[in-house]
């Protein structure tokens, strides 16, 4: 395709503006000294102070980050296994079912998954709390992680692993030594994606949580229901900042890991 036309350029411009407008508004107003949206009360960091001094928010943040980290790790590990199975094993009984189960959560409405997982926890007699939230989050982020990992694994030349096996490496070791190092950016992406999805989740957390365990989105949601407070702008900006930093760090990290893997003998 040749140079983008004016139509194309405008489409991109409007599209991106649409995406970023609310975020920009949010960030600006988190520094607004006044409570009202229409009045600029001078630059102020009071809302940030309020957030950081709010024990409920801090507690919610701790729960959210812990659950997100654990579920992201679990989802990534399971995703690697699932990707190996779907890409490298040619045919086995129940392959279609596994494929369906791996993809369906991506399109399933959250409330449906939330209700069903809750009922499973109740039936199994598992006490609801951070554990059940983590299990639920792992399950619903697994499909996203698998898609990312699977598309990377498909690109890898299977003859590299075969060569390793041919030269004496048992299959598992061959995978770990040959394929895994070449998958690191994908693994990082999958982990970050799962982490973000978990961190942000409201519906599934609300259904599968137990007494006393509230995630950050749940706290933010209840604050919103009570009335719009500018503290929320501050929390949002903080989270946004963390996520952007995380993304940038991940990019740098994966690039350096690639270099190091290349240099390592």
């Amino acid at each position: 395709m040749t140079k983008p036309s004016l139509f194309n350029r405008l489409s991109i411009l409007f599209g991106l503006a649409f995406f970023y407008l609310p975020i920009v508004v949010l960030v600006i107003y988190s520094f607004n000294g006044s409570k009202l949206v229409t009045v600029w009360g001078g630059f102020s960091t009071q809302w940030y102070a309020a957030v950081l001094n709010n024990p409920s928010i801090i507690e919610g943040a701790k729960v959210s980050f812990l659950v997100a980290a654990v579920s992201a790790t679990a989802a990534t590990v399971l995703g690697i296994l699932a990707a190996i199975v779907m890409v490298r094993l040619r045919r086995f009984r129940g392959r279609a079912l596994l494929n369906g189960m791996l993809l369906a959560p991506m399109v399933m409405p959250e409330v449906v998954m939330a209700v069903s997982m809750l009922l499973m926890f109740v039936t199994l007699g598992i006490d609801r709390g951070p554990l059940t939230i983590t299990l639920a989050h792992t399950t619903f982020t697994l499909c996203f992680a698998t898609v990312v990992l699977q598309s990377r694994l498909v690109e890898l030349d299977p003859s590299l692993e075969e060569a390793a096996r041919d030269l004496g490496c048992p299959p598992a070791k061959a995978f770990v030594h040959v394929a895994l190092p070449n998958m690191i950016p994908a693994i990082v992406s999958a982990w970050l994606l799962s982490f973000t999805l978990s961190l942000d989740d409201l519906v599934i957390s609300s259904f599968t949580t137990g007494p006393g365990a509230s995630t950050l989105p749940m706290k933010i949601y209840s604050q919103i229901k009570f009335g719009v407070t500018p503290e929320i702008n501050a929390i949002s900006t903080i989270i946004l900042g963390i996520v952007v930093l995380g993304l940038v760090a991940a990019q740098l990290l994966s690039r350096r890991t690639e270099q190091r893997a290349g240099a390592a003998a």
């Binding site: 003859s159 075969e162 041919d166």
Partner: protein, 355 residues
């Protein structure tokens, strides 16, 4: 006495597709054995089963008498040179070659010795510290070869190893491979779709089609004495005519061929039943064309000059096509397009085929 490598009733199917269908082969020690056939004939599948990457659906593979059918790839004393070379991109040439020896648990001194040894043989000594991305295609191929050879496998398997090389390099490398194989005294099995390659390097060739082995023999054997029209046409070029009534005249057979529009002669043989349908095959290089005399009558339809030879495409009076070839000895051709010619060949040049 059992063969060095014995393949017995081997079959591999994927669902309803029979990739390899009941193959029996015996390969001897020190052979340079080719599996030759078009794509989809099952030759790669067969090679991969010997390497251990595919599990046969049925049948047995024996190496020096031992049943290795259930032995996984990483434990078989075979090594493979992959079509894409499969060099580990993050390791240097030296480390690539060392990889297999490390898996065997050899000590460092021994490893270094073997690497230096094989590097010298394959002229890789200067490249040991480079990464695969910095090498040319030919160099990469030698590294792949070195990596496999350094483990001193009982059998070296080569999967279409020369496909990525340009023509001149290919010919060079073919001869290199033969020299190396003889020098090291190893057994090579090579998979190729290129019949020139198979003819150049092999001690014996197995011609495969649709999962089955059609014929096995030395290059001369399969070229001069094919068992079927398929094999005859697959290796080189040939003219094939349906044979009709045959009359024996001492050691010669006079065969009527409507297709050829006349009589052709062949040496008498009882290998082919003459009262059943049969065909006569003659190679273009054995066909002599003359402007007068006896033989099948026709007209030169096309004349192609390839430098080494002249190819004459003759339209026989019967309507069939006859291809003839003459080596270019420097003189101008005495025949041109549109000339009437008589085509003939000695009886020994005819090959009778039952299928």
């Amino acid at each position: 006495m059992q063969s060095y490598i014995s393949i017995e009733n081997l079959a591999k199917s994927y669902g309803v597709v029979h990739a390899v269908n009941n193959i029996n082969l015996g390969i001897e020690k020190g052979e340079f054995f080719s599996l030759l056939g078009p794509s989809g004939c099952g030759k790669s599948t067969l090679l991969r089963m010997i390497a251990g990457f595919e599990t046969p659906t049925s049948g047995v593979i024996r190496l020096e008498g031992t049943d290795v059918t259930d032995v996984p790839a990483h434990r078989r004393p075979t090594n493979m040179m992959f079509q894409s070379y499969a060099l580990f991109p993050h390791l240097t040439v030296g480390k690539n070659i060392a990889f297999g020896l490390q898996q065997d648990g050899l000590d460092k001194i021994e490893i270094k010795k073997r690497i230096d040894d094989v590097a010298e043989k394959l002229q890789l000594t200067a490249l040991l510290d480079r990464k695969p991305a910095q090498l040319s295609g030919g160099q990469r191929q030698r590294v792949a070869l070195a990596r496999a050879l350094v483990k001193r496998p009982k059998v070296l398997l080569l999967d279409e190893p020369l496909g990525a090389l340009d023509k001149n390099l290919r010919t060079e490398t073919q001869l290199e491979l033969v020299r190396l194989q003889r020098e090291l005294g190893l057994t090579f099995i090579i998979v190729t779709h290129d019949q020139h390659e198979a003819m150049t390097v092999s001690t014996r060739i197995a011609i495969m089609k649709q999962g089955q082995v059609l014929q096995v023999g030395s290059p001369a054997n399969v070229y001069e004495a094919p068992h079927s029209r398929y094999v005859a046409k697959f290796l080189g070029e040939t003219n094939v005519f349906a044979g009709g009534r045959a009359e024996r005249n001492g050691d010669t057979l006079q065969i009527d061929s409507n297709e050829a529009g006349g009589q052709v002669r062949a040496t008498f043989t009882d290998r082919v039943a003459l009262d059943a349908p049969f065909w006569v095959s003659v190679r273009p290089e054995r066909v002599a064309l003359a402007t007068s005399g006896t033989g099948l009558e026709g007209t030169v339809e096309q004349l192609t000059y390839t430098g080494v030879e002249r190819h004459y495409r003759v339209r026989l009076n019967s309507g069939a096509i006859l291809d003839a070839r003459r080596v270019n000895l420097g003189a101008e051709s005495d025949l041109g397009v549109g000339d009437r010619v008589f085509a003939s060949w000695p009886p020994q040049a005819s090959r009778l085929l039952a299928e």
